[in-house]
């Protein structure tokens, strides 16, 4: 809408008469308050006495009656003149030559018609450009700009203020406005109960202090604020491009008052920016009245696409081969099935300027999927048809070639080559074709299976500039395919198509919403739009805005319709649910059950991880902070360094964290950093520039943006590779070998290291506490990692060696898991007696390897025996297998 800055500026120009404070006096010619913009002064001279209000209402009723009778009169007079005696029999001559009552009726009706044409079509509107600053120097009463209903609201508020003997006009106006039927959908769109808002306003209005200009108890004046509000509404009317001050303008004006702003933001918990958007959107939405069916039918009618080959100058030639493999965008634009684009003016102008040139007139749109490359080309097609494109593009055909169709069905290389030659020759001869090749990399690299390269055929033709070409590709495919075909790449000028901003996306959604609502039979709240933009930006990475937000909204609409039926409301919570379903990340509001689970998160983790209290507490606290929205969203969820000897539960804690936060252990990207001990191994981490090696880290995060990244044996990483992690830990992003940025802001990163484990073991043996030797460990870490890297960890967590009791608990846990598996798979119950359990613990424990051998012992001493006995038929389903002792 973009009105705020202008109106902020305008508000400063509001002036009150220093003599009467805005009530109106002789010195200010009863104007009281002015809005000064440039050289122009606006004022509102309402008639606010009780008699004036009544006379104004009577006047508006009389005027409406007059208009009605004027229409009847004109129709009747023309009917009389044409049908009755004159024109039908003798032509127009008697109307001029003779005089009489019928002629009088005719000419007076014509006079009324002229006045109507003058008033509606010719008389200039005071606001020509919607910008008050551009207005001529006038001194104007804004009274004629009021819609009758808006004016009646102001009068009602003044009357209310008088009745309540309180000049708090703005609260009374707000009260009147909120009770207006038109405002109910606004608050419903904001997922707010209109009744609640109304109740809060009534409370505030009752306690509002006197605003301004109170004269006495019974002479309290609401006039100055009424005038100020009216003038601000006038400014908003201009900024919104309207020609009447309506209820939306009044609401916008009220939001300029600090107390109203504060009330909505802090007390009613309604964002005023959202309120403005919702009010504007709801009030300017296409009517859903009695003509809805008619519009629906028109919207859904089958449109016949007429194929036009010939240009106006008759110089073109038919292109039958091209037509077989293409779609004419200008044909679709001529049939008006291409909707105008929002924003992208800069890119469109750039493309048209390139196409307009005499040489090197080919443009290549490079952008990610969903960035709107196709929409840009469609818009150019629309501009060509409407003759709004640059002159060289007038009367041209914009044709999109389907490269996959060109390639498909080809049996030999020669066939493909001749097909491409034929298409290019047709385009050249036609002379009126602009060729659009979507995903041009597919065509450029085809032919290699037949021993030639299509780009070698295309490059010389494109470089001749005989016709214009628009190509589109992604950054990745540009580097992979086009850049290395130098001659081919040189024929294009590159235009980068970046992602649109969330604000523009919001506008696009508001435009798309009515179409989606009609199609799916549901209604969107404004919160759903905001959430769709916010969450798709944060959690969807394989597409760009706006398409990912539009897709999210469409999907949510389908889900809501199927689950809750037609006319259901799609709210922000539905969008959040959908994102949670898609990503597995809990982003919906914290329910009571979940809150309880979060409070007990430590004990939840301890069900899997035995001991290591400090480590568990630190990570649990990080999760809690994140879930209540306290984390920094521009960094990873958490970055931890787990230090300690092997087999003490570092990996187990990482796994349990992945399960608790991301829903499953599978959401873990595990990298053994001992594989990255030389600088050359960087390719395996972020991909090689030739595209032959995929980056395990970057591709892993691309596939699983919500995951736990476990960097095992972090200290073994080559120092230059370690430097890469500085950016990851700090900014939550990393650029791969193709220059694509990968997002790590939804990951938990855990690096494990055995550095200092010897110190830990020795000091613990000496009976020291963790805190006593932490400085020693930290000093030791500096031998392996740079201080700036260590500083970027949220916490360096020391894992202690496990005590025999803890090993026993781990053994019990693992035996329980085995028992469950056995019962599920074979229906056999497992019972391990304490003596056997102690033996397993004894065999599985090693001061050097912690509990690492425990699983091996369980496999050897229990699992193998059970398998053997089961196969021999010595134990059967339903039986309990008891292990009394272990040899």
């Amino acid at each position: 809408m973009g009105e705020s800055s202008q109106t902020e500026k305008i508000e400063k120009e509001i002036m009150f008469c220093p003599f009467c404070g805005g009530n109106g006096c002789v010195k200010c010619e009863n104007r009281g308050v002015w809005l000064k913009v440039g050289g122009a002064k606006y004022f509102w001279q309402p008639k606010t006495g009780a008699a004036s209000i009544i006379s104004s209402v009577v006047k508006s009723v009389l005027f409406a009656l007059f208009k009605f009778f004027a229409v009847i009169f004109v129709i009747f007079s023309f009917w009389e003149a044409f049908d009755f005696s004159l024109v039908k029999a003798n032509g127009f001559y008697p109307l001029f030559a003779q005089k009489g009552p019928v002629q009088f009726l005719f000419w007076s009706s014509l006079g009324i018609l002229i006045y109507w044409i003058y008033n509606k079509k010719i008389k200039p509107s005071v606001l020509l450009e919607g910008d008050l600053a551009l207005m001529p120097k006038v001194n104007l009463n804004i009274e004629p700009f009021f819609s009758p209903s808006a004016k009646s609201k102001i009068y009602a508020a003044i009357t209310l203020a008088r009745k309540e003997k309180n000049p708090g006009f703005v609260w009374r106006l707000l009260k009147v406005l909120i009770n207006e039927k038109k405002m109910i959908p606004v608050f419903e769109k904001l997922e707010q109960s209109p009744e609640k808002i109304s109740r809060l306003i009534n409370q505030r209005a009752a306690s509002a202090p006197e605003d301004r200009g109170a004269e006495s108890e019974n002479g309290a004046s609401a006039i100055p604020d009424a005038k100020k509000t009216a003038l601000l509404a006038f400014a908003d009317m201009s900024a919104l491009g309207k020609n009447k001050i309506d209820e939306t303008c009044l609401l916008f004006a009220l939001l300029r008052f600090d107390e109203i702003n504060f009330f909505f933001e802090k007390e009613a918990e309604v964002e005023t920016s959202s309120l403005r958007y919702a009010a504007f959107w709801t009030q300017t939405k296409p009517s859903r009245g009695i003509f809805e069916g008619l519009f629906k039918k028109r919207g859904k009618r089958l449109v016949k696409i007429k194929h036009r080959i010939m240009n106006r100058a008759w110089t073109a030639r038919p292109t039958p081969t091209l037509d077989r493999f293409s779609r004419d965008i200008t044909d679709f634009a001529a049939a008006r099935v291409i909707a105008p684009i929002v924003n992208r003016r800069q890119e469109i102008d750039q493309v048209m300027r390139i196409l307009e040139r005499n040489s090197k007139n080919n443009a290549l749109l490079v952008g990610e999927v969903g960035s709107g490359r196709k929409s840009i080309v469609n818009e150019i097609g629309r501009l060509i048809v409407r003759e709004k494109a640059l002159p060289n593009l007038h009367d041209k055909r914009l044709v999109a070639l389907d490269a996959s169709q060109v390639i498909s069905g080809v049996k030999a290389g020669g066939e493909l080559e001749s097909r491409v030659h034929l298409i290019l020759s047709e385009i050249h001869k036609a002379g009126n074709v602009i060729l659009f090749i979507p995903d041009i990399h597919n065509l450029a690299e085809s032919g290699s299976e037949y021993g030639f390269d299509i780009s070698e055929i295309l490059a010389p033709v494109f470089s001749m500039s005989a016709f214009q070409v628009i190509g589109s590709t992604t950054f990745y495919d540009y580097h992979r395919t086009i850049e290395k075909r130098g001659d081919f790449a040189d024929t294009f000028d590159i235009i980068k198509v970046e992602e649109v901003s969330p604000e523009i996306t919001l506008e696009i959604l508001m435009r798309e919403a009515p179409v989606l609502e009609d199609k799916e039979g549901v209604f969107f709240t404004f919160g759903a739009f905001k959430k769709a933009v916010e969450l798709s930006k944060r959690y969807i990475f394989n597409k760009l805005l706006p398409s990912k937000a539009v897709d999210l909204l469409s999907e949510a609409a389908v889900i809501v319709r199927t689950r809750r039926g037609k006319n259901a409301v799609v709210s922000s919570e539905d969008i959040a649910n959908l994102i949670t379903e898609k990503t597995g990340v809990p982003i919906t509001k914290i329910t009571a059950g979940e809150a309880a689970r979060l409070v007990n998160l430590e004990s939840e983790i301890h069900r899997r991880v035995i001991g290591q209290n400090e480590a568990v507490r630190t990570v649990a606290e990080a999760i809690k902070r994140m879930r209540v929205g306290l984390r920094n969203e521009k960094k990873p969820v958490g970055v931890f360094l787990f230090l300690g000897p092997t087999g003490v539960g570092k990996t187990e804690l990482a796994k349990s964290l992945a399960e608790v936060y991301f829903g499953s252990e599978e959401s873990m990207i595990r990298l053994d950093m001992s594989e990255f001990q030389s600088a050359e191994n960087i390719d395996r981490l972020i991909g090689s520039t030739d595209g032959n090696t995929a980056g395990r880290l970057t591709e892993g995060v691309k596939k699983q943006p919500f995951s736990l990244i476990l960097l095992d044996e972090f200290e073994k990483t080559h120092p230059s590779i370690l430097d890469l992690f500085l950016q990851v830990f700090d900014d939550g992003r990393l650029t791969d070998s193709f220059g694509r940025t990968r997002d790590f802001t939804n990951t938990i990163i855990i690096a494990t290291s055995n550095v200092g484990s010897k110190i830990i073991q020795e000091r613990l043996k000496e009976g020291k506490k963790l805190e006593d030797f932490r400085p020693e460990i930290e000093a030791n870490l500096l031998n392996y990692f740079k201080p700036e890297l260590l500083n970027r960890f949220n916490a360096q967590i020391l894992f202690t060696t496990l005590s025999p009791e803890e090993i026993l608990q781990i053994a019990r846990l693992q035996i329980k898991k085995l028992s469950d598996r056995l019962e599920n798979a074979q229906g056999i119950k497992l019972e391990v007696l304490p003596e056997a359990m102690n033996k397993i613990t004894e065999l599985g424990y090693s001061p050097l390897y912690g509990a690492r051998n425990l699983q091996r012992v369980i496999t050897e001493k229990i699992e193998n025996i059970i398998a053997d006995k089961f196969l021999r038929g010595e134990i059967k389903r339903g039986q309990t297998f008891t292990i009394k002792n272990i040899e």
Binding site: F104, W107, S108, G111, I122, P124, A313, W314, T315, D395
Partner: protein, 108 residues
């Protein structure tokens, strides 16, 4: 009242005329997107349908000349209709006013 008369006269005759002719020329221009008069003038020497044979080069200007004249004739008719409408536009307020009062007098 005097203000109204002055404003009306200015708006009807000056602003209104500007609007009228903008609309009329816009309409004639939009007709050209079908008639192709300007395009054929620019391409008068170009052969039709990319036929660069001798025959094509000769026939091209002949056909184009015919098309240009035909198109101009249609545009001229449209212009004359617009001109007639404009004359009515100019005369209408005055005629209506005069006829209104002349007929009013019959009641007196």
């Amino acid at each position: 009242m005097l203000d109204f008369i002055i404003n009306f006269a200015y708006d009807w005759y000056i602003r209104g005329s500007k609007k009228f002719w903008n609309g009329a020329f816009g309409f004639i221009k939009s007709m050209d997107s079908d008639l192709g008069v300007i395009a054929n003038i620019y391409n008068w020497t170009s052969p039709l349908y990319g036929d660069y044979s001798y025959g094509g080069r000769i026939i091209g200007p002949i056909f184009r000349t015919g098309r240009i004249f035909l198109g101009l004739a249609v545009c001229a008719v449209a212009f004359l209709v617009a001109l007639a409408a404009y004359v009515i536009w100019l005369a209408l307020p005055a005629v209506v006013l005069v006829m209104f009062f002349l007929n009013l007098l019959t009641f007196v």
